[in-house]
Symmetry: C2
Subunit: 483 residues, 2 copies
């Protein structure tokens, strides 16, 4: 991979290093911590599509403080030689559990759980959040865009407006996990074998004396993939007529045109007019591609208006998740095993009850109805709990305690899989094509009611009775423990 | 620099390559094109702070298609061997003009102008836009946040919510150009010598049996830089009292505490109460730092409410420019010199008159009033025009043609400086500290009326009479030329 040369070890917040130093100096080197990476809410969509785990794992496996990093940290005058010496051989030696990329995940569910010596687990926080927050955000947004396109192909076109190179590269990757079919980003295409797409820009047209000559030159190059951008000067007045003229020449030479692209103006109106013009000229199979400030809302609106658009190029608003440009995932301590002691669940309180964390070393189970094969609810439980699928399972939503649901004919699927054990990769990582196939199956396993953008049914994420009881007991005790 | 190992040459949209191939096949290899990179509007602030030019120049100077890239492009079955051979030795050989980083720029003003053989100029589009759009966006947002903080120090804390590693790294860089004083991002600190900042997280507190013990352990490590996070359990009930207890111990040992950090809850109320508690306990110099979903609006509101906050940590909303996560800069052809011919200005029309481009090879002048030293307006003109500062200068705003302003005692400063000539760097690139100093001077050279967030005075960007006349003539002619 192109990134192999990049050492991102220092992609961390300073306080991770000062805390590590503190844990070392306070004799906590042997303590084992459990941290969960999860998000609290996604305002744009009811589910999120987990993404970025491959890059997160790459980061973990390649942590190395190089001599120049040590030198830089020494120059800060914050760390002593004992700590710098410790960093010199610092590697991740713990365990990592993660949901597969493409999994539909919900608020409060761990997407990654790290169980490792506390210094190591603490250190991972910033980079894991950076990578997983970003890709999960974009995959989720892409999922929504693809849903709006109702089966039409969507191309990711946002590189030029992405927040830096990585946002373009990994944003393209995440977009494809979420449901886009291709990208304009050549580097992402090379790195992840994503199909690349694109035709020509306005500047192509402006580089020729006339629009007709520009179209003709393009058709000559790509006689069997001729998609012409028709809005440089006047879409209906010159663009479409010039395209039709060139399409007729193409056909006379034995080729069929691909179609036209609209990139500005009233896309509903223009697409209907252009469709009519193309049909009347004998090109009913020429497609109409639209681009230009599209997002899921505009696509839905255009569909509702009967726009005649077959292919969508979505840029800025997808690659930045413009209406919610950060997922807000967090990484919270949920258990601690002091050296020689036994595991103690940990909780973080807050003035806002939504922000109270779930304590303990946990697993997330997806409950499938065996009759329909559909996901019915998720269950967060302690890893020490056992469930017997031959017996009825009663769950309840902790924010809605009067509502209990009992499943009889069900299957439980644990979502978190171990990917790193003792610092070594123990899972076979799927390639992007396999991730996309899995992501499609994931989407199909949920009722549409959970996926629709308007007033969706809220998918229930339940806590096991045992976890719920432990959590409540801890909340009650916290005052005296930490006063 | 850490990035040196990364080859971002393929960070481009596919259509740049197909168009280059087309220009080559259509005999345009010798044509010289002029492209301008500019933005049309910034909804968040009336000006933008140009940033990212150093990385843009690095990109240009290091374009190299490596064997694996050629191999990948061949695998797409879009390009013939002639073109792939051309790419193998492809380098940028043209000229680049840019405004210095930290310059305040306005809509329609070229931030970068590229004058080069059309294939080369075309190729730069995507990467330049990606890099400059991102950093200019974040520098502009940071400028607004710093303005709201009214001289208080602002720390950039957003790495974990940034859109991937680069968004965190270059976002930190851009934040500092915009006015932040430090970052939590250690890698950005190492790469750009930005001061790094940070203390400890909630997990530090949760890793000790009690909050008091956690604070004590931290104070022991950093007795002269002890800033304690007080909201893990109960800010006023336990956090501040425990901090004061530790501060008293510190003082007894001959050290003065730095202060406390609030990261949740009602920051106005909590900061006032905490201030009172600290003052009454004898720590009037202990600072109060606030973080947690801050942006310029919340900082302004907290200031208006009399919150007692001395230091601001701004994360997600700064690093993503949450209310406008893309600048929307564009890169448009403005002139073309066919091989052996003379320069022809180029224009792109649109149904939306705001999107019509300014033709020609241009310079941007900032007009300073010699009496006050303040910037009064900008003037976009053709490079072929000459201005005599000893004679009165009358300008007008093209959208407001009845308003003419005549300057008599003024200085014109050309904003675009040549940075690359014939493919070689010809400018001395300033380091980040020098950029920040320049950016501060830039801000001071504008009246506050242009910088205030509410109903700011709109700074005028004028076109020279000659440019305005050429533009209008071209708009009038376009119908017959391109029909």
């Amino acid at each position: 991979m192109r990134d192999a040369a990049r050492n991102l070890t220092l992609l961390t917040d300073l306080y991770q290093l000062t805390m590590m130093d503190g844990y070392l100096k306070n004799g906590k080197e042997g303590d084992i911590a459990v941290f969960d990476l999860f998000y609290r809410r996604n305002n744009v969509i009811t589910y999120s599509v987990a993404a970025g785990l491959e890059q997160a794992i790459d980061y973990i496996l390649n942590i190395r403080f190089e001599e120049e990093d040590i030198e830089y940290l020494r120059s800060l005058h914050l760390f002593d030689e004992q700590f710098l010496e410790y960093l010199r051989t610092f590697r991740f030696t713990g365990d990592v559990y993660a949901v597969p990329e493409g999994t539909m995940v919900f608020p409060e569910e761990p997407i990654i759980t790290v169980r490792a010596p506390v210094l190591e687990a603490q250190f991972l926080e910033t980079a894991l959040l950076n990578i997983v927050n970003h890709q999960t955000l974009i995959a989720s947004k892409s999922s929504k865009v693809a849903y709006a396109a109702k089966g039409d192909s969507v191309m990711e076109f946002g590189l030029r407006r992405a927040q830096g190179p990585d946002a373009g590269i990994y944003g393209a990757r995440a977009s494809v996990i979420g449901g886009c079919r291709s990208t304009s980003n050549v580097l992402a295409g090379e790195m992840f074998h994503i199909p690349v797409a694109g035709t020509h820009a306005h500047s192509w047209v402006m580089n020729f004396p006339t629009e007709y000559e520009a179209f003709r030159a393009y058709a000559k190059m790509y006689p069997d993939a001729c998609l012409l951008l028709v809005d440089t000067y006047d879409t209906l007045g010159s663009g479409v007529p010039n395209a039709i003229r060139v399409f007729k020449e193409l056909r006379a030479a034995g080729h069929e045109p691909k179609g036209i692209r609209l990139d500005s103006g009233d896309l509903a109106y223009l697409s209907k007019c252009a469709r009519k013009m193309l049909d009347e000229a004998g090109f009913p199979d020429a497609i109409i591609c639209a681009s230009g400030d599209l997002d899921e809302y505009l696509i839905t609106s255009l569909k509702n208006q009967g726009a005649r658009i077959d292919l969508w190029g979505v840029g800025t608003k997808l690659i930045t998740s413009a209406d919610m440009p950060a997922l807000g995932g967090v990484y919270k301590l949920s258990a601690l095993t002091p050296k020689g002691g036994s595991e103690i669940p940990k909780i973080k309180l807050s003035d806002n009850s939504d922000k109270i964390t779930n304590p303990g070393f946990k697993q997330v189970y997806r409950i499938y109805d065996n009759k329909t094969g559909k996901a019915e609810a998720d269950l967060i439980a302690l890893r020490s709990e056992e469930f017997d699928e031959s017996r009825p399972l009663t769950v309840f939503h902790p924010k809605d305690t009067w509502k209990r649901t009992t499943f009889t004919d069900y299957t439980l699927r644990p979502l978190l899989e171990q990917v790193i054990r003792g610092g070594k990769l123990v899972a076979q990582m799927p390639d992007l094509a396999a991730i996309c196939e899995y992501a499609e199956r994931e989407k199909e396993s949920f009722w549409d009611e959970y996926k629709r953008p308007d007033n969706p049914h809220v998918y229930k994420v339940d806590l096991s009775q045992k976890l719920y009881d432990i959590k409540n007991a801890m909340i009650a005790q916290i005052g005296e423990n930490h006063g």
